[in-house]
C-alpha cells in the first residue's frame, strides 16, 4: 500500500518556521531518561511554555511504533498540563521523559482530546505516576465500546514488545462540562477546554492557551493529512471549524501533521467541503458505491498523508451517509 510519510525532521522544520522560539535539541536536554526519550522527538517550544511532541504521521507500523499522532504540554507556574498520551505505555513514558527534559514542574493532569488509539494508550504510563487522565464523557464511552478491539489490533500490528504494559483503562475524570476542568488552579495558568458537542468525533475536545493563542486541536484538525470522518457529525464539525476561525489563534497543533497557522483550519474546511459536495453529486447521479472512491479524487489533497487510504474510505462513508439520509427521509 502506498503511504505518504513525512519524517519527524520535516515536521520539525515546518513547525520551526512558525515557532517564535525553537526548542532545544536533544543535546541540550538533561541526561535523565535519555533511553526512553530517544524514542520521541525533542519537544518543540511553539510559544512561551507551550510545547509540541511531534508524531511521525503515516499509519501505525513496527517502524514508527504506532507513534503517528502529536502530543503536547503546557507549563504553568505550578504544574504541567499534558495533552494526549501517545499510543502505548512505552510511548507514554517517552512523552513524560520529554516533558521532564524541559521542566521540573509536576504533571498535574493529562487531557485526552479524542478517541483514537494514538492519543489514548499511553495513559498507563501517566497513571503509573499518579497523573489523572481526563476525557469528555462521550469520548470515554466510545473508548469503552470500541477500544478493546483497537488494542488487540495494535498488539498484532506493533508486536507485544512495543505494546507491553498497555491496557484499556477508564479515565479518572470523565467530564461533560469542559468548564469543570479548572486547569488554572491545577497548573497556575489559564487554559480553556473547548467542546463543540459531537463534531469530528463524540467527545472530541480542543485545548486553547489564551496567553499565547495556541490551539491544540486534537481530532478537530489534521495538517497535511486526510482527516478521518468515520466518527464525525459532519455538519457539527463544520460549524465547530467556523467557530474556531473566529478565535484569535497564532499557532495550531493539529492531531497529526506539523504545527501551523489558521490556514490549517481553512484547509480542513476546504477538504470537507469538496468531499461532501462530491458525495452529494455522485449520489444524485446514481453512481454505484464501487465507483465512489475513484470518482472522489481530489487533486488538491492528493499529497496529503493517508490520501490513498483514509480519503477513499471517507468518500465511501460520506456517500453512504447521504444515501441513508435519502432512504429514511
Amino acid at each position: 500500500m502506498r503511504k505518504p510519510r513525512r519524517s519527524a525532521i520535516t515536521w520539525l522544520s515546518a513547525a520551526a518556521l512558525l515557532a517564535t522560539a525553537i526548542a532545544a535539541w536533544a543535546g541540550d536536554a538533561p541526561a535523565a531518561g535519555a533511553a526512553a526519550r530517544a524514542q520521541v522527538p525533542a519537544p518543540i517550544e511553539l510559544a512561551a511554555g507551550v510545547y509540541m511532541l511531534a508524531g511521525s504521521g503515516g499509519e501505525p507500523d513496527p517502524t514508527n511504533l504506532g507513534r503517528v499522532g502529536n502530543a503536547g504540554f503546557i507549563v504553568g507556574r505550578s504544574g504541567v498540563l499534558a495533552i494526549d498520551t501517545g499510543t502505548s505505555y512505552l510511548h507514554g513514558r517517552a512523552l513524560l521523559a520529554a516533558i521532564r527534559s524541559v521542566t521540573e514542574q509536576p504533571v498535574r493532569l493529562a487531557l485526552i482530546t479524542h478517541t483514537r488509539q494514538e492519543f489514548l494508550f499511553g495513559a498507563a504510563a501517566f497513571r503509573e505516576q499518579g497523573i489523572p487522565i481526563a476525557m469528555q464523557q462521550a469520548a470515554a464511552s466510545l473508548m469503552a465500546t470500541r477500544c478493546d478491539t483497537c488494542l488487540k489490533t495494535l498488539r498484532t500490528t506493533l508486536g507485544e514488545d512495543a505494546m507491553r504494559g498497555t491496557t484499556l483503562f477508564t479515565p479518572d475524570i470523565a467530564f461533560t462540562d469542559p468548564l469543570g476542568i479548572d486547569a488554572a488552579a491545577l497548573i497556575g495558568r489559564p487554559i480553556q477546554v473547548l467542546y463543540y458537542g459531537h463534531s469530528s468525533g463524540p467527545g472530541d475536545i480542543a485545548v486553547y492557551d489564551p496567553r499565547t493563542r495556541t490551539l491544540f486541536a486534537g481530532g478537530l484538525l489534521d495538517a497535511q493529512r486526510i482527516p478521518d470522518v468515520f466518527d464525525s457529525d459532519l455538519a457539527a464539525w463544520r460549524e465547530a471549524l467556523r467557530t474556531l476561525q473566529a478565535l484569535p489563534i497564532e499557532v495550531i497543533v493539529p492531531g497529526h501533521g506539523p504545527a501551523g497557522s489558521k490556514r490549517v483550519i481553512t484547509q480542513v474546511e476546504r477538504y470537507l467541503d469538496q468531499l461532501t459536495s462530491r458525495a452529494r453529486a455522485l449520489l444524485k447521479a446514481g453512481a454505484p458505491l464501487s465507483e465512489v472512491p475513484d470518482s472522489t479524487a481530489l487533486p488538491e489533497f492528493a499529497s496529503w498523508d493517508q490520501y490513498d487510504t483514509v480519503h477513499r474510505r471517507n468518500a465511501a462513508l460520506v456517500y453512504l451517509r447521504y444515501e441513508r439520509e435519502q432512504l429514511i427521509k
Binding site: 483514537r116 470500541r146 495494535l154 454505484p288 472512491p293 465511501a316 432512504l327
Partner: protein
C-alpha cells in the same frame, strides 16, 4: 463499522443460514493461513460449499469476456464492500444466465447470495454490498439456463480493526425499518435493459457483533428474500444471507416491454414483509 467480523466472533458463532447443515469449524486452519497467492481451488471451505450447492457438476473457470466479478482488492470499509457480478453471455428467452451465486469463502456463512434471473431481466448483472472478513476469496458462479456452471474468483482484503461505530441511534433506524426506495435513472427505453436501484432500510444484523459493554450479541436479523417483478413478470429473485451489509442495496436490470409497474417484495428473517412499487413509462 459495525460488522467487521473477527475470527474470534466467527469461530464463536459459526454456521450457515442458507445451508443449515454447513459448518466452518473443520476449516479454521485453512482460513487462518489464506493469502492472495494461495490456490483458490485448494480452499477447504470452497470444497464444502461446492459439494453442497453443485455436488460433482463440473465448474469452468472463465474470463472477463464471459463473467465479470468486480470487487476491490482492498476494501475501503469491510462492513460495506461493493461487489458486482456481470454475466457477458447473450441473454435471450432461449439461453440466458439463470442464476448468479455469490460465495465469500471466509465469511461465517459463505453462501452470501443467490440471484435468479429470467429472460425479462435483460441481463444477469447485479451489484450489491457485503461484509467481508479480513482475507478471503470471493467467487461468482453463474448457472446458465442449460445447466452450465461458470466461475470467477477474486481475492479481497478488507481492513477491519478499530472500527465500531459511534453512537448509532437504534430508534431512528427502527422508525424507518423496511422502508424501500426504488429508483430508475435516466430515460427508460422500450425493450432495452434498464438499471434499477433498490434500497431497503434494515439493520441486517449478522448476529456476530458483540457489544463490548454488555457482552451481548445483537440478535441475527436480516433481509432474506427480495422478489422484483415488472408487470407481474419476475425479473429478479434474491436469496440473501447476513453477509449483506446494513441497508441492503441491489442494482439490477429489467426490460420494459410496455408501460407497467415495477414491484418489490421484501421479507426478513422474522418473516416480516414489505412491498414497494414504481410506475414506469418507457419511451419507444
Amino acid at each position: 463499522m459495525k460488522h467487521t467480523m473477527t475470527r474470534r466472533e466467527i469461530t464463536a458463532a459459526g454456521g450457515a443460514a442458507l445451508i443449515a447443515s454447513f459448518t466452518l469449524l473443520g476449516a479454521r486452519g485453512a482460513r487462518a493461513a489464506i493469502q492472495s497467492g494461495d490456490n483458490p481451488e485448494a480452499s477447504e471451505i470452497w470444497h464444502k460449499v461446492r459439494a453442497s450447492l453443485f455436488e460433482s457438476r463440473p465448474i469452468a473457470n472463465v474470463g472477463d469476456d464471459t463473467l465479470v466479478l468486480d470487487a476491490p482488492v482492498r476494501a475501503e470499509d469491510a462492513a460495506v464492500v461493493p461487489i458486482a457480478m456481470r454475466a457477458r453471455l447473450p441473454h435471450t428467452a432461449a439461453s440466458y444466465v439463470a442464476k448468479l451465486h455469490l460465495i465469500i469463502d471466509n465469511n461465517p456463512s459463505p453462501i452470501s447470495a443467490i440471484f435468479s434471473f429470467t429472460p425479462q431481466s435483460g441481463r444477469a448483472d447485479i451489484e450489491t454490498r457485503v461484509r467481508v472478513d479480513e482475507y478471503t476469496f470471493v467467487r461468482a458462479i453463474a448457472e446458465t439456463s442449460d445447466g452450465r456452471l461458470l466461475m470467477r474468483t477474486r481475492f479481497v482484503k478488507a481492513s477491519g480493526g478499530c472500527s465500531a461505530p459511534p453512537g448509532k441511534d437504534p430508534q431512528a433506524a427502527l422508525a424507518s425499518l423496511g422502508k424501500i426506495r426504488m429508483r430508475v435513472d435516466g430515460e427508460v427505453v422500450l425493450n432495452k435493459p434498464t438499471l434499477v436501484q433498490l434500497m431497503i432500510s434494515h439493520p441486517n444484523d449478522s448476529g456476530m457483533v458483540m457489544d463490548q459493554l454488555t457482552r451481548q450479541f445483537t440478535p441475527r436479523w436480516f433481509v432474506r428474500t427480495v422478489k422484483v417483478a415488472y408487470g407481474g413478470q419476475p425479473v429478479l429473485s434474491a436469496d440473501l444471507d447476513f453477509s449483506i451489509s446494513e441497508n441492503p442495496n441491489l442494482r439490477f436490470y429489467f426490460v420494459p416491454r410496455g408501460p407497467g409497474r415495477l414491484t418489490a417484495e421484501v421479507m426478513d428473517s422474522n418473516q416480516t414483509a414489505w412491498t414497494s412499487s414504481l410506475d414506469v413509462a418507457p419511451t419507444a
